[in-house]
Subunit: 221 residues, 2 copies
């Protein structure tokens, strides 16, 4: 009975790890759709989002069942409640990938982004996908070190984001207001994706150790 | 004993209602700071945010204690878990008000926003504050009707947000790229504040009725 219970707890972690992995994959495809102005890939990201929503609903139901049936205390209670918090972040990561895909779709057959910032977005995409994978692996392996390292990975995203805003606000920006607005919002979506991955990492640390790492402020820009 | 337990559950609702009220107040002040380029008010918003973070930490601790000590099932379990989800949204509402205040601060002594969009932001501020209050009252009174109505209030925000983007992307926009970027991001902060208030409302419905209203998609713009 106890063994089955612990198997259920591990299954919940795997569900969450799967959600983060799927969100990372969605961001990989959304970035491709954005940089290649590929509307078919954008549609795939948008169409697949239902899956992540369904996965979250299923995980939430399972977590409630565990709380109700097992009446957990101490570490196991912390584990399950953290899972409920993590699933909200993982779902949001998927929603942010959809936002990227939708802007790519809206601008098609044009490219949403001027060539000048393609390199920066390619790198932000790479960092975001890597952070989705890290969050996934931290969950799958219940690895607090891996969870804590997400904070460092986020530094790379923040640097890219700052770099993007320097280009955007430089007087040499020649691409006009609509492209600037798209660029600013898209930059924010990548940055928020990374912030949610950091939150997942913090909660993995809390799950395993009982200590919640301090929160880093996200910037208004 | 049972009575004390139910008193603790109500106290948790009051803590959450208080958080939403404080977030609404922060948004009221942040809007004032933005529209009047008032750096002292902006600093107040930024400085007071710690309070909301502390309130959330306290509420989370109390919710954990209730779960651990009372071993709730069914409706009470749903109630406490919903509270844990709601506090994340309420804290985020406060953080978004801080984002608004920070942009006001950054642009001081200039106004961050061109005169042309002041009216729109004044209205978005009014709607946001009203939604913070509605969320607060829905929680305090455990009122699912009030919680559900937040969705309709969000329609007003979405309309204002669309109106803002029409102005921003119109060829007659003469305020340049940096003001456009500020305007786009600030618009997004108000819209996200409202989305989080809607989430609080949905969870109040779930707390009381056990049925979670369907989620409305937030737009990429």
């Amino acid at each position: 009975m106890r063994t089955e219970y612990h198997e259920q707890l591990s299954a919940l972690d795997r569900q969450l790890g799967d959600m983060c992995g799927v969100a990372g994959m969605a961001m990989r495809q959304a970035t491709q759709a954005l940089l290649d102005a590929d509307v078919a890939v954008a549609d795939q990201v948008i169409g697949h989002h239902e899956q992540i929503v369904a996965k979250r609903a299923r995980a939430e139901k399972d977590a409630f069942a565990l709380l109700a049936l097992q009446q957990p205390v101490a570490g196991e209670l912390r584990d399950i409640v953290s899972s409920i918090q993590i699933m909200a972040d993982a779902e949001r990561m998927g929603a942010l990938a959809v936002h990227v895909a939708k802007i790519a779709r809206m601008r098609h057959p044009e490219h949403a982004l001027p060539e000048e910032v393609h390199g920066c977005f390619a790198e932000m995409g790479t960092v975001a996908v890597a952070m989705g994978d890290s969050a996934s692996q931290a969950l799958m392996a219940s690895d607090p070190q891996r969870g804590a390292r997400l904070c460092g990975e986020d530094d790379a995203m923040n640097n890219l984001h700052r770099q993007l805003f320097s280009m955007l606000l430089d007087r040499t920006w020649t691409h006009g207001v609509p492209a600037a607005v798209d660029t600013a919002l898209l930059g924010r979506f990548y940055e928020r994706f990374a912030d949610h991955a950091v939150q997942v990492g913090r909660r993995v640390v809390f799950k395993v150790t009982g200590a919640l790492p301090p929160e880093e402020e996200d910037s208004a820009f």
